[in-house]
Structures are given as C-alpha cells and as structure tokens.
C-alpha cells in the first residue's frame, strides 16, 4: 500500500478543516481544542496539531489530506507536515484582508520547505464581502502562472475542483520535468 499526501495550509480560520471535512471519506481526525485566547472571537475551536483526512484511491494507493494548524504558535508543525507532500493548497479567507499578509508569509515559508506545486484557494466566495480571486492574486502578489481558485470549503464540488486543479498542476510539473 502506497500513501501520498497533500497539505492544506493557510492562516487561522481560513477554512482548512472544513475543506478536508468536505472531501474526506473518513471523519476528519481533528485535533481541535477550545481556544483560550483572543482568537475565540473568530471561532470556538482551532486545530493545534493537524487535521487528517483520507481518500482511498484504489487498493494500492491512499491519499491523505493534512491540514496545518492555523495559529502562529503551532508553526513548528508545518515543516513536519510538509515533508514528502505532493503539493499544497494555500487556503485564504477571501473576506478577511487582515489575514492576507500572514497568508503571504505562510506561502513563503512553505515554498522554502519544498519546491512542490501549489494552488491558492480563495475561500468563502459565497459571502458578499469576499475579494475576487483576481484581486487576491494581486493582494498576495501571486505570480500569473499559479492558479488562484474560487472556493467554498463546505461545498464538496468546490473542494474537488481545487484538488483537481492542484493535481493537474502537479502533472504539468512532472511533464515539464521530463521534457
């Protein structure tokens, strides 16, 4: 049995846990804890170590989805989680411009961990105050060759779309590597 993994990262409350929950075939093994600081005004619980979802591809292959903890003080987990990943999704809450700078910093850190393909998921596009993916690209200074995708993390089809786009990007990078 071969295991491969994709990492879902992004700032606190970007929607990483929700994203994995929407597509995982098992109940997400979540290590959420009640929040004990000012972050509680945003949500009651947060991921302190990782979220863990699974998609069985076939009898020989399993895809794991790992969600990184969003709060800065758990960033020591990021490097551990990123080891051996196929690629990663940077989740951004499109309605919270105050998190964009942090999203950019997380992206820079993950790009240093591994030169793997990634996409940016502009989450919460169903909300009226959401910045469009095109505006997010400029705000986060994302290069034009990186996909910035509209996303609603609690919608399975939307999550599928983001994962498939990441996989197409990985395929393209493999083909470029061969050529």
């Amino acid at each position: 049995m071969q295991n491969v993994k994709i990492v879902i990262t992004g700032p606190f409350a970007a929607g990483k846990t929700e994203f994995i929950r929407s597509i995982s075939e098992i109940d997400v093994v979540s290590t959420e804890r009640r929040i004990s600081d000012n972050s509680r005004v945003v949500k009651e619980e947060t991921t302190v170590a990782m979220d863990f979802g699974r998609i069985t591809i076939d009898q020989d292959l399993v895809l794991y989805l790992f969600g990184t903890p969003g709060q800065k003080r758990f960033d020591f987990m990021w490097e551990i989680l990123s080891e051996g990943m196929l690629g990663f999704v940077l989740m951004v809450d499109s309605t919270k411009s105050e998190t964009f700078r942090e999203a950019r910093q997380i992206l820079d850190v993950f790009k240093k961990y591994a030169g793997v393909p990634y996409v940016v998921a502009a989450n919460k596009q169903d909300l009226p105050d959401a910045w469009s993916p095109e505006d997010l690209r400029i705000a986060l200074r994302i290069n034009s060759d990186v996909k910035v995708l509209p996303c609603v993390a609690r919608d399975k089809e939307s999550v599928k779309h983001v994962l498939l786009e990441l996989l197409y990007t990985i395929l393209e990078s493999l083909e470029e590597g061969v050529s």
Binding site: Q2, V4, I23, I55, T56, I57, D58, L61, L63, D75, E79, S82, E83, G84, M85, L86, T95, S97, E98, T99, F100, R101, Q105, D108, V109, K112, Y113, A114, G115, V116, P128, D129, A130, W131, S132, E134, D135, I138, A139, K156, K160, L163, L164, L167, Y168, I170, L171, L174, E175
Partner: protein, 277 residues
C-alpha cells in the same frame, strides 16, 4: 465583488496598485481618524478625489490654485447663476476669464493633493464599490495611477522625515527674535510668502495651512524650510501624535525539503478517483 478592509493590513499604495493592475472602475472610500475621502476610478485611472467636509467646488479649487482671488471667488459664489462645476467652467472659459487648461490643471492638482494626503494613512477602514462613477456635475480628469504610486511612495519617505521634524501642526509659529539669516538674503517663493504673511504669534501651522488652502505635506515642507533657515520658531511644543508603525514579523527561515519522486500514473489515478467522488 466587494473590497473591504483596513489600511493596517492593506496600504493605500497596495490599494492603488490593485486598482491599477485590475483596471478597476468604481469608488474607493477611506475612513481614517475622522477623515472620509472618496476616490473614483475608471478602468484603473483616477478620475476624481475629494475629502468630506472640504470645499471641493470648482470655485474653491480655482482659488486654491491661485486662478481666482478670494474676492473673485466670493463674487462667483454669490452672484453666479450656474449651479454645477461643469456649467461654471464653461462660463469662465466662454467669458475669457480662464482657459480650459487653467481649469483642468487646477482640478488635477486638487485631485493629486487629496490622493497624496491619503498616502501616509496607516490605519482606517476602506471600501471599494464597483462601477460607481463621480457625480455627473463634477469636472473629472484621467490620471495614470502608476506615476501617482511612484510619487506617493517617494512622498511617504519625505513625509515621514517631515513628520519627525514637525510632528504637530497645532503649534503656533512666530518670527525668530534673532534670525540666523537676514530676510533680505533669502529668496522666498510665492507659497512661502503666503505662509509668512500669516505668522503673527497666534496662528497655528494648521490654521495657516487652512487659510492658504495647503495640504499638510505642503505646509510641513514650507515650515520645515523656514525653521531650518532660522527665520521662524515654534512658540510652544505640543503633544506629539505619532502612530507606531506596525512591525512586520520576520519570516521563519526554514531548511528546504526535497519533494518526493512522484510517478505520473499515481497522479492520474488520484485524478480519476477524485473526479468520481
């Protein structure tokens, strides 16, 4: 799509850059420290800008630009039969008082003054409303944002230096008792003379700026020059109101990890599976 946020997280420079690159049309409102400013854009170009509570009628703009005297402006305000800036502009051109270039260059300078005034703002809400255009009666210009961003960024640096040297505008100016340089040896320009004419030991720098229709940047620059030349002195130091710039945390250095060797057929199998979910 709405664009909302705080200047703490997304600066004026970044906002204008976004509007420029995305070729946006609409109105950007900035609310900061009691100031509400509005800027209008069409396909990424700046059309108009104003600050709530400031007289930005054409008469005031032309007076500020020195194209009308205060007396002429007052006569126009009281006697003119026209009601909109566009009508007034046409009237002044047709009557031969001013050229079209006089009017457009004055409006352009006013719009630039508003935008450059906003550049140093580091805190405050912003909101972009797509497809909103300026009121039809206003005279608009069409300005390239790239050069404004360049100039604004340059001014921020100069602004920061001037703010350090002259943090408070609510301080009274007086002539130096013993000027280091005799006045007759100094060449002052028109704006500097306009400032000098209001120095009486009672007017604050802010009041002098308001009398002359000058932006904070302009008045700081002039007063700083006069102070440096030893011509004027501050009567009493007032409380400084300097906002601490938000420190940007440094990125954590990290050791690169090599990506795994992935075979194409693994990715194809995952794609097929996810498509079928």
């Amino acid at each position: 799509m709405a664009l909302k946020g705080n200047l703490r997280d997304f600066s004026v420079t970044q906002l204008l850059n976004l509007i420029n690159l995305a070729r946006k049309t609409g109105a950007l409102t900035i609310e900061s420290d009691g100031t509400t400013a509005r800027m209008y854009f069409k396909e990424g170009r700046l059309l108009h800008a104003s600050i709530a509570g400031q007289d930005d009628q054409l008469t005031a703009i032309l007076q500020k630009a020195g194209k009308l005297t205060p007396e002429q402006a007052q006569i126009i305000r009281t006697r003119s039969q026209v009601h909109t800036d566009k009508e007034l502009g046409l009237l002044l051109i047709n009557a031969g008082y001013l050229s079209q270039d006089d009017i457009l260059s004055s409006v352009k300078q006013h719009v630039l003054d508003v935008v450059y005034y906003l550049f140093p703002f580091t805190d405050g809400r912003f909101h972009f409303e797509p497809d909103q255009l300026p009121p039809a009666d206003r005279i608009t210009v069409s300005l390239d944002l790239e050069s404004i961003i360049m100039e604004g960024s340059r001014r921020i640096k100069e602004w920061e230096r001037l703010q350090e040297e002259l943090p408070d505008l609510d301080v009274v100016l007086k002539f130096a008792d013993r000027p280091r340089t005799p006045l007759r040896h100094i060449n002052l320009n028109v704006d500097e003379w306009r400032v000098i004419s209001f120095i009486n030991g009672r007017n604050t720098i802010r009041q002098i700026a308001q009398h002359n229709g000058m932006s904070e940047f302009q008045i700081r620059k002039i007063v700083y020059g006069l102070l440096s030349a030893g011509l004027v002195e501050l009567v009493e130091p007032a409380e400084q109101r300097r906002k601490a710039a938000e420190a940007v945390p440094a990125g954590k250095p990290a050791a690169p990890v090599q990506p795994p060797a992935v075979k194409r057929n693994i990715i194809m199998r995952i794609i097929d599976r996810i498509r079928g979910i």
